[in-house]
Subunit: 337 residues, 2 copies
């Protein structure tokens, strides 16, 4: 399946296809110098498989985790590009999760003022979320995604076969972001989660969720307005994530908690039922004070209003300016008793 | 005088006006957090004058010269932005030469994926050349402008009064780039150089040269084709510059040599006469071997053809694919006997 993304003068496609990695050169122009950026935990056969399809391939492998989205690691990638004499006509391919997608996109967008970037996300989270929309990033001074660019890839290759080796908790982590898109934008996608086993329905869920995200970013590349709906569950979710140790709570799990916190009534009941299927906790331990501190720092505007994304009915949403106290009150409902 | 630059969805103006620095807030939105990036050799009163017009101003002063266009100095600028809590709605203002323009533009383009950038160039070279066109850059692994983005400023403020303190050789350095634009694109601008004292005609030369550069980049932002004409004199010029110690030959002086090398007959005679007025040398010492090595490394394609910009008649030019030997033969004519 080909999902078109058409942002200003950058039109490209997200290819969703089982076995796409095996025939990547059908979709990506690999007949040139390719810097293949990947992570230590990515199965070697994916990397080897892509490498064989390239005319000239140089592999850079970074450590897993957010620590690799740093200025020094970015410098290492740039150094590899310089060392191997990459020109404006060559390209960078990221193979892995959101970390190498964000880092690789940033490197590609800034090497010689921009070379072609291809993304082959291999986690559910990066397939449905971070690979779509052209946000590139590294962290800086301890703040996530502080440095980056808007830079669209030339093509995104989503191969559900790469998910076979992914731990179940990681699959659920990504499905939580797909569920978020269902909550704000698609009652029919939500019903797949509700009526079927989401873990068995990846071939239906992935293209649906990618399509929603693509539609949103096409209408609002730089988060002027509509793109804010993608932040549903993220104000609280991101604040909780900040207060936890790396890996303690996955991103999607935190977003799920954030969604639970800001919903109520029937919407909340249905959401809780799906999260149970996904084996995602809906209450956890945290310090309300620490979470609120992170939330206000994140929004950088203590005292003023914050744009909340609210879902009154599954499949649609509205934006509302609320005071920080709105979130503080809601936190109570997800705190483990 | 206002010169419009309209590149895709980024329309902005270059303001050319004596005393513009005194009333910068008439053109720039300074009623927010402003990171003012400047160099040690910039007169303190320019900085103070801008600072007074800002709601909240934080000054970062870097060392003069290319050494400041580095990843560590870029990191310092980003750190200052984080430290003072800059948001997407704040801005960065560069005050100085091409170094802070390039560095500041790169920082602004990548902080939180892009904040507003204003440029107040205070050298002839940066006023007529580097501030126009949206190329941002830092150097990497010893290669100039290896890392950067295309990012248009919100406004460029050119105040010819800032040139009063500039050494005569630096003025000539910038005028050489303006002369280059005259050579390829404007016989009438060339006549100003020919018939008057260029040092006394800055108010006529600056807007003309800026207008030519703006026209070119509007038609070809990312150097697909037309923008190549801006490289007239640069293939040899840049190669010579690379082989010299920093400050030994100024950029404009090297470009002038490059222009002399690739012209002949009447065109060359007229060019030599103007360069004499500008007190720019038209023959120097260099190692042909070293210059050719730099030239081929720069173009990254030994053996293949290079696009040469050629001027057969002043005010127009053509692009021609030539072998590297073309440049090698021409070098002879600018080598000091």
């Amino acid at each position: 399946m080909r999902i078109p993304v058409d942002i200003k003068d950058h039109a490209y496609e997200v290819i969703v296809e089982r076995g796409a990695v095996q025939k990547a050169d059908r979709y990506l122009d690999l007949g040139r110098k390719v810097l293949l950026l990947t992570e230590v935990n990515i199965p070697a056969d994916y990397v080897e498989c892509i490498r064989k399809q390239c005319k000239e391939c140089h592999v850079v492998t970074v450590k897993e985790g957010e620590q690799s989205k740093s200025l020094p690691v970015y410098g290492e990638v740039m150094h590899a590009l310089v060392e191997h004499g990459f020109t404006r006509k060559d390209c960078l391919v990221s193979v892995g999760g959101g970390v190498v997608g964000d880092l690789g996109g940033f490197a590609a967008s800034t090497y010689m003022r921009g070379i072609d970037f291809y993304n082959i996300p291999t986690t559910v989270l990066s397939q449905v979320d971070s690979s779509i929309g052209g946000k590139t990033a590294i962290n800086y001074d301890g703040i996530k995604n502080m440095v980056g660019t808007f830079y669209q890839p030339k093509c995104v290759l989503v191969d559900p076969d790469t998910l076979r080796t992914l731990p179940r908790r990681q699959v659920a982590n990504g499905l939580a972001e797909a569920l978020k898109m269902a909550m704000t934008s698609s009652a029919s996608l939500f019903r797949i989660f509700e009526e079927d086993d989401p873990f068995m329905q990846l071939d239906r869920i992935l293209p649906e969720a990618i399509g929603i995200k693509a539609d949103v970013v096409m209408q609002d590349e730089k988060e002027a307005n509509l793109r804010k709906i993608l932040n549903f569950g993220h104000t609280i979710g991101h604040a909780i994530e900040t207060t936890k140790l790396p890996g303690e709570c996955y991103h999607g799990e935190c977003v799920a908690l954030g969604m639970v916190a800001v919903t109520s009534g029937q919407v909340r009941e249905r959401l809780l039922a799906v999260l149970k299927k996904l084996e995602i906790p809906t209450r956890i331990d945290f310090s309300t004070e620490a979470v609120m501190q992170a939330l206000l720092h994140d929004k950088k505007k203590g005292g003023e209003s914050i744009t909340a994304v609210l879902v009154d009915e599954i499949g649609s949403c509205r934006l509302e300016e609320v005071p920080p106290s709105f979130f503080e009150e809601r936190l109570h409902s997800i705190l483990r008793a």
